[in-house]
């Protein structure tokens, strides 16, 4: 483990050098495309220049698309022939991301690489190429609660980077990156720090098994009318992993087509529709309950850790200003017998 300091020009040199060999993926500012007019959208994208890398603000979307694209072809069809697509970009990939998102990708690993003891090869081939360059996070952003979710820390990174106003400090854990940094940088004793306190206090429910009556508690009712089932909370979430499979044929040649998988989400209509017009969780409140329990309760029963990493993006993106963290707090209050009649 070694650390180095750089001025921004030196860091740009290293960035350029890495860019020759690696695909670079990270948070990027897109001016004027934000949620409100005149605001910028911070999204995850391929990075060409060091200035592309947004180091100060939290990203609106998560980095999950690098391992789990929103729309991915799983097979090309020619008549009865099934062909798997090659990856369009075969380079090893450096992802710049914060500790919560590293934890988030580990949660995706649980589903795609472990659940059912089968590895998802489409996920795996992308995942194997990733090298985490952790952007140090010392202060929590608005809506973040990674400390409560125990996802504020990680040691799963190749390098950890602090972007200070005057300099960039890098700690290198993966020796294969040492050369690229050591040639330019000045030795330092930088060690990354982690967020210690959430901007928003979140209390997790302290129960082994959810009592059956909490499933139909009136606490969920407000979401029936508030949630509009837009699914943004699912798409922005680094740990939401659900998808649907669709087949298509090309209009000019019915003999050729594709099988694709596309992001799906438990807040969206149709997520549970079955033959005979049967579906579950028609009420949005039930969907909110289903998501909440998955994120902070039942995932843990399978994988011994919570799914949610407290990135707070679901709160950031909800057009109806629904706060997931407030929902967790309401649930905890309810379970501990308090605040039954207010709201």
């Amino acid at each position: 483990m070694q650390s180095f300091d750089f001025n921004y020009q030196q860091f740009a040199e290293v960035f350029a050098r890495l860019g020759k060999k690696f695909r670079l993926f990270g948070p990027k500012r897109v001016p004027g495309r934000g949620r409100f007019s005149d605001t910028d959208l911070i999204t995850y994208a391929d990075l060409q220049n060091p200035e592309d890398l947004e180091t100060a603000e939290k990203s609106y979307l998560s980095p999950k698309s690098i391992v789990f694209p929103p729309d991915e072809t799983t097979f090309y069809f020619t008549a009865d022939q099934f062909t798997e697509p090659e990856l369009s970009d075969n380079r090893e990939t450096i992802v710049f991301l914060r500790p919560c998102d590293i934890n988030g990708i580990e949660r995706l690993d649980r589903i795609f690489l472990e659940n059912g003891k089968v590895k998802d090869p489409y996920y795996q081939r992308r995942r194997e190429k990733l090298h985490f360059f952790m952007i140090e996070c010392r202060e929590s952003f608005e809506n973040c609660f990674c400390v409560a979710m125990n996802a504020n820390r990680t040691d799963n990174f190749a390098t950890a980077i602090r972007f200070a106003p005057e300099k960039v400090s890098v700690m290198i854990q993966n020796e294969s990156f040492l050369e690229a940094f050591a040639e330019v940088g000045k030795k330092s004793d930088f060690v990354p720090e982690f967020v210690k306190k959430d901007s928003k206090a979140v209390n997790l429910p302290d129960v082994e098994d959810m009592p059956a009556d909490i499933f139909s508690d009136s606490l969920w009712d407000e979401y029936d009318s508030r949630c509009i089932a837009c699914g943004r909370c699912n798409t922005s979430c680094v740990t939401c992993s659900c998808f649907s499979t669709v087949d298509i044929f090309y209009p000019d040649s019915r003999n050729c087509g594709e099988r694709r998988r596309v992001w799906d989400g438990c807040h969206l209509d149709g997520f549970t529709d079955m033959a005979g017009g049967h579906s579950f969780r028609k009420d949005k409140g039930d969907r909110m309950r289903f998501k909440t329990f998955h994120k902070i309760y039942d995932f843990r029963k399978r994988f011994s850790e919570d799914m949610c990493v407290g990135c707070g993006r679901c709160d950031d993106v909800c057009p109806e200003y629904i706060s997931f963290s407030s929902c967790i707090n309401k649930l905890s209050d309810r379970l501990s017998g308090g605040k039954k009649d207010e709201e």
Partner: protein, 264 residues
């Protein structure tokens, strides 16, 4: 790509049996190590993929009994013998046959729920499970919906078989009434030594299992099979999840003590 679990294999249709106006059985040439109750992901390139239960199998072929209700199943409905479908599986947890050995087995099937239990019935009747006795109650909404009627004579010969339709119909001389009514009529059950399987539409399973619990059957001796929307069959897509349970992995066959705790 090595070991791609999503890549199906081609299976040639050997035989097609029309069961009802919208239900049919495809026998395809395929070999697999199957437990009754398991399912396959059946697909046609460019059309789609869906989970379909195994409704019968031997070493040389597998049968699927399919109801034409949508994109894929409507196209499957038009196929001819010699055509090819694509399958991957078997998936899911089937019936725990070892638990039924030396036991009296009661199977109650409602409508198309008879398809996933048919391999279980066949194995109970051919002696390979080693059940002490088999009682079978099969209920259908009306006579037009009856599946596998060509096997009824054989089943009636070999086990205590009750076939019923919900309401009387002109020309129908057999039993009528919901399966629950016939469950209620079951007498001389040796509760200590009996396992019960109930498969059918959700409401039917709810009331039938309740009926057995009332009769005094222990909950851990009751087995059901769930159906949920599925996109992958292997625990990835998330559609079939209820609480911590993935129906495609932990089910579709579930013990009642487990199934009764699940809230969608």
């Amino acid at each position: 790509m090595k070991n791609n679990p999503y890549r199906p294999v081609a299976a040639r249709i050997l035989k097609i049996t029309r069961e009802t106006a919208i239900e049919f059985t495809l026998r395809v040439e395929a070999q697999a190590d199957i437990t009754p109750g398991q399912f396959f992901q059946v697909s046609l390139p460019r059309t789609g993929e869906a989970p379909i239960s195994v409704s019968s199998f031997t070493r040389d072929w597998i049968e699927f009994t399919i109801r034409a209700v949508g994109k894929l199943t409507n196209v499957l409905h038009q196929l001819k013998e010699g055509d090819t479908i694509f399958i991957r599986g078997p998936y899911g947890t089937g019936f725990p046959l070892e638990k039924y050995k030396d036991r009296n087995l009661i199977i109650v099937a409602g409508g198309s729920g008879l398809a996933p239990v048919r391999p279980l019935i066949q194995k109970a009747l051919d002696g390979s499970i080693g059940v002490k006795s088999l009682r079978l109650i099969a209920g259908f909404k009306n006579s037009e919906g009856i599946l596998f009627s060509h096997q009824f004579e054989d089943w009636a010969d070999k086990c205590d078989f009750t076939l019923t339709i919900d309401k009387p119909e002109p020309g129908w001389t057999g039993n009528t009434g919901m399966v629950t009514e016939h469950i209620r009529k079951l007498s001389d059950i040796d509760f200590a030594d009996t396992e019960v399987v109930v498969v059918g539409p959700g409401v039917m399973m709810k009331f039938s299992t309740a009926e057995f619990v009332l009769l005094g059957v222990a909950e851990e001796k009751i087995w059901v099979s769930f159906e949920r929307l599925m996109s992958c069959g292997i625990g990835k897509c998330g559609h079939c999840k209820i609480d911590y349970t993935y129906v495609c992995l932990d089910g579709p066959v579930l013990n009642y003590t487990h199934a009764s705790t699940l809230i969608d």
